[in-house]
Amino acid sequence: MKHFSLRKLLLGCGALALFILAWKLVTDAKLVSPIFFPGPERTYAALVKGLSGGAMLSQTLETVQRMLLGWLLASFVGVFLGALIGVSRRARAFIAPTLELLRPLPASAMIPIAIAFLGFSDNMVLVVIAFGALWPMLLATIHGFAAMEPRLYEVSAVLGLSRAQVIWKLALPSAMPMILASLRLGLTISLILAVVGEMLASRQGLGQSILAASRSFRSPDLFAGIVILGAIGLVGSRLLSFAERRLLRWQAVNR
């Protein structure tokens, strides 16, 4: 539980102001060429212009949509498959080692394969996002099911719960902390892969937009894009932490 204190807020804002001031001083003194490295005011101006003028706003929406779609796809498939594999000890023995073997494979390494099959298309980017975000959720669900308290299996046997009831009422909730943590990780991966996919396949979106800005040395636009991407990541992870806290209220008292 984070304590909210005024002292901390003031200190934090002060440090943030200092950070921005240092940024401004560095760029004003032209320690780095302004062509590459814009000051805070120019970044802010580009941000306001981009978001009010429309181009950057629609790109943001494109990227967010892509990220969410891939993430949702990965979440459903990951948790569903994870539950199927995780609930059976036998399925775990046969399938889990192969999945563990594939886990360290960088998701981005699948991009060329996806391009080979789907070309430079929106679907390709979507498949890459979903595939990359799938792993943590799949493995977390399997592990969560495997880690269920053995006593609860006995409780379910004594109560005479059906297999579906065991999955729905015992295994899934007990795996929930792990699944929720993996959903957050999955969202981070989705955003990264959305940006990478847009850069590579030149699809509408912030990834393509910041790459174009960098190629034409429009550094304020580039930095504005980065700020928005950071904001997307921040809002996404905050929303999921909020959901986590709500859904795992029963855990809070433990800590």
Binding site: R151, E154, V155, S156, L159, S174, W250
Partner: protein, 274 residues
């Protein structure tokens, strides 16, 4: 033998190891259990009458818990059988409830007290509309009426164990198995729960098998006490408890018969330990 024959409970007969009448609720027939070459239980036979309360004591490693798990259908005997109302028990059965010692692991931490009780109702397909009333009644009965919305982690050990008992009662069991349920609780909570369990058993008419390592608890609760001996686990002695019911924490424990039984069992267990 000093006998205080005030038992309010119908007794099944004088031969104390096997009641003569045929209507045993649980009949254990020559049960053994081995893991590989290791024999845990070496031939136990016992009849338990409906409504009877049996205490099981014995030194650690004598198979008390294993015996209880076989009665719950959670462990399969290697040979012999356990019968419930005349039919062989093939696995867990909803009419046999078990209260585990480790209440922290046996409750669903993500469900409130009411939710945990509800699980048993959901399992037996009780319609959703009827559940709240039953849950409220059970929680009231076990003294958790005001804590229905609390999560297990917010409750004391005693409250959690009460909750587990409430969930077992929601099964409407014929047989209540208790595996050292109060072992982890403090003395005051223990005594309060002992009386509550006795009260519940009396009102529901359930048969109870109560495993404990506490001799006084065994005497206080039981109609009969089964003393197990280890290596492999088998019945050493069966002792009748002729103490008046309802029992009372002060009066019963000061009764001559109580003290005499305590002495007898103490000597028995002490011999086993040597």
């Amino acid at each position: 033998m000093v006998v205080t024959q005030l038992s309010t409970r119908p007794r099944q007969g004088e031969d104390n190891s096997t009641p003569t009448s045929g209507e045993a609720r649980i009949r254990i027939r020559d049960v053994t259990l081995s893991y590989g070459s290791l024999q845990i239980i070496g031939g136990i036979s016992l009849d338990i009458a409906p409504g009877e309360t049996i205490s099981v004591i014995g030194p650690s490693g004598c198979g008390k818990t294993t015996l209880l798990r076989m009665l719950a259908g959670l462990a399969r005997p290697t040979s012999g059988s356990v019968e419930l109302d005349g039919s062989v028990l093939g696995g867990p059965n909803r009419s046999i409830a078990i209260v585990f010692q480790d209440y922290g692991k046996a409750l669903l931490p993500w469900r409130t007290a009411a939710g945990n009780v509800s699980l048993a109702l959901e399992a037996r397909g009780c319609p959703g509309a009827e559940r709240p009333a039953i849950i409220r009644e059970l929680l009231e009965k076990i003294g958790l009426g005001r804590h229905a919305d609390k999560y297990p982690a917010e409750m004391s050990g005693g409250m959690q164990q009460r909750l587990q008992i409430a969930r077992c009662l929601a099964q409407e069991p014929k047989v209540l198995l208790m595996d050292e349920p109060f072992g982890a609780l403090d003395a005051m909570t223990r005594q309060a729960l002992q009386d509550e369990v006795l009260g519940l058993v009396a009102t529901t008419g359930a048969t109870m098998v109560f495993v404990t390592h506490d001799l006084e608890e065994a005497i206080y609760l039981g109609d009969r006490i089964i003393c197990l001996q280890p290596n492999p686990g088998r019945v050493g002695r069966v002792v009748d408890v002729r103490l008046a019911r309802p029992r009372d924490q002060l009066l019963t424990r000061e009764d001559h018969e109580f003290l005499r039984l305590r002495r007898e069992l103490y000597d028995l267990i002490k011999d086993d330990h040597q």
